[in-house]
Symmetry: C2
Subunit: 146 residues, 2 copies
């Protein structure tokens, strides 16, 4: 049994913030911190409207801020906002192979939220580590599209 | 009045996670995700034991995970753990000039936690935006040491 994801995690991909209103939050981060929106989409499967933002001048591989707003009331983000209000919600590690990463985590008894990876931002494939098995942090594993 | 920090924020510096036991958390992140410790220190001023971790192969400018454990019971991190348990605690933007950034934020009515910047990790200079003025997120502004 391999103990770690050595070689599988290649970067801190993004930090996710739950927000009530996506457009307002994008505008706030642009005006307040000068962050630059690089991507926006609706993920129907996860019930979320989302945007990626970068610090100005950062390259395509640099860590992003991900703003997440509910697209429907039964979504994870809607429930998070009800329980906690807006704020930091998730931390995403970029992996080279999300299936291999999930398999290695399961071998060591770490629980994942989905049986198999789902579609994430920009056709990436994602899964999530249960916060109880990751020090209270909702950890996303994201394998970018080819 | 300038509306944004345009030109002042240059990167997402780190994401801070509150943990009860620093050594245990460093070991967990190393074993579970393959993250590599790059720095460790005790900040007496802020009452915190902390470590920085990077994804393997990442350069010195890449976003870090910062693990924060209480060094004394009246510290911000101890209070955070009492209230919320372990988990995501802060998001730090790297700035080229922390005093100019704070001045520009104050001009637009944004509250900062300290009157003047304090010593942060590795002799950086830091201040924090009040979470109520930053969408529920404790935002740190960090100007690295020269
Ligand atoms: Co995400
Ligand atoms: Co920090």
């Amino acid at each position: 049994m391999r103990e770690e994801l050595g070689g599988l995690v290649s970067a801190i991909d993004h930090v996710g913030i739950a927000v009530a209103d996506l457009d307002e939050a994008v505008d706030f981060h642009r005006r307040t911190f000068g962050l630059v929106p690089t991507h926006q989409e609706v993920n129907e499967d996860q019930g979320v409207r989302e945007a990626m933002l970068a610090a100005p001048g950062e390259g395509p591989g640099a860590t992003r801020v991900q703003l997440l707003a509910p697209a429907r009331e039964d979504s994870t983000i809607a429930k998070f906002l009800d329980r906690n209000g807006p704020g930091l919600q998730q931390l995403a590690f970029r992996v080279t192979d999300v299936e291999a990463a999930c398999e290695r985590l399961r071998e060591r008894g770490t629980r994942l939220l989905f049986e198999t990876p789902r579609r994430g931002t920009a056709d990436s494939r994602v899964n999530f580590v249960h916060p109880k098995d990751a020090g209270g942090v909702l950890v996303e594993l994201v394998q970018p599209a080819e």
